[in-house]
């Protein structure tokens, strides 16, 4: 069980936070390096298409939300807040559900350190989350999950 990376997208489709974890090589991984890369853009596009697809095919009146998608090599866990912040975790296939963990990450770490932070912008534009306390707490949160390594 491994968590490979973590992305946050805002409601204007831009990647405001990207975090890659390293497991095989020593080191701390990279923060906010991949925000403008094709990987982030393709990931967003994929999630966006699958989200529309799941809304379209839904028969019930309530909103159907995408939980995860997987390929033969990795699984992508998805959670979207009501304010359209999208939280994305890429893990290996052994990790089957991270919905509650993503909700906690949003409710506890993100809301307290980004939303309630007076210095953090409401609309990010081309800015990224560089807030140290958020980065540190989000890292701690994910590293303490039993599925991290």
């Amino acid at each position: 069980m491994t968590i490979y990376s973590f992305y946050i997208f805002d409601r204007h489709c831009s990647c405001i936070y990207s975090r890659e974890y390293t497991h095989t090589t020593p080191g701390n991984g990279r923060t906010n390096v991949n925000n403008e890369s094709d990987v982030a853009k393709l990931l967003f596009g994929t999630l966006y298409s699958l989200k529309t697809l799941s809304l379209k095919l839904d028969d019930s009146q309530s909103l159907n939300s995408l939980r995860s998608f997987s390929t033969g090599a990795y699984r992508v866990h998805f959670f979207e807040s009501l304010s359209n912040f999208k939280f994305v975790l890429i893990t290996d296939l052994a990790v089957e559900t991270l919905q509650t963990q993503l909700q906690q990450l949003y409710g506890v770490v993100f809301v307290n350190n980004v939303i309630m932070n007076a210095l953090s912008p409401v609309e990010f534009g081309s800015a990224k989350i560089t807030n140290d306390s958020f980065v540190r707490l989000a890292d701690n949160f994910l590293r303490l999950l039993p599925v991290f390594e």
């Binding site: 497991h23 994929t46 699958l50 529309t52 799941s54 033969g72 090599a73 089957e96 509650t100």
Partner: protein, 179 residues
Amino acid sequence: MRIFSLYILNKAGGLVFQKDVNPGIAKLTANDYLVLAGTLHSVHAIATNLKPAECRSLNETAQTVNGQILSSGKASTPNVNNLGLQHVDTDYFSLYVFQTLTGIKFVLVTSPVAKQDHSHESPLSTKGELRKQYELVEEYFKQLYVLYCDYVMKDPFYSTDMPIKSTLFEAKIKSVCEA
């Protein structure tokens, strides 16, 4: 697990067969089904490229797969593009994609994997639920592939990549999926 729908896509991403076996998901217009097929086709291809650099599972590149087929005469798994999209999990349905050696995609929409109880949740408690359902669906894919070969490919009046109109095939699909 209940099967809601089956779609078959040709190698260019066009929809050649669509059947709602059990009620459970919304009915779309013919055009929307084509859009859906095209979306799945492209997402399947894009998902292949999103593989994390550190991800070291599966050494099934095109070369090793082809080498295996040449040496043993058959593929170890009928699903050629293992790195493409396989499973989409949402609150109300699960969607599975299976690609054959010739690039045809079978898409099954089923009931979702049972939602886990959040009260005493731990990521390990539901271990294997998605995997179990995936293995079940793979069995269905194999059966459907056999039916496709027998009733569509062996039909002398069928031209490749065109919509499937065979009533016999439809009846067989119904009997497999409704069980």
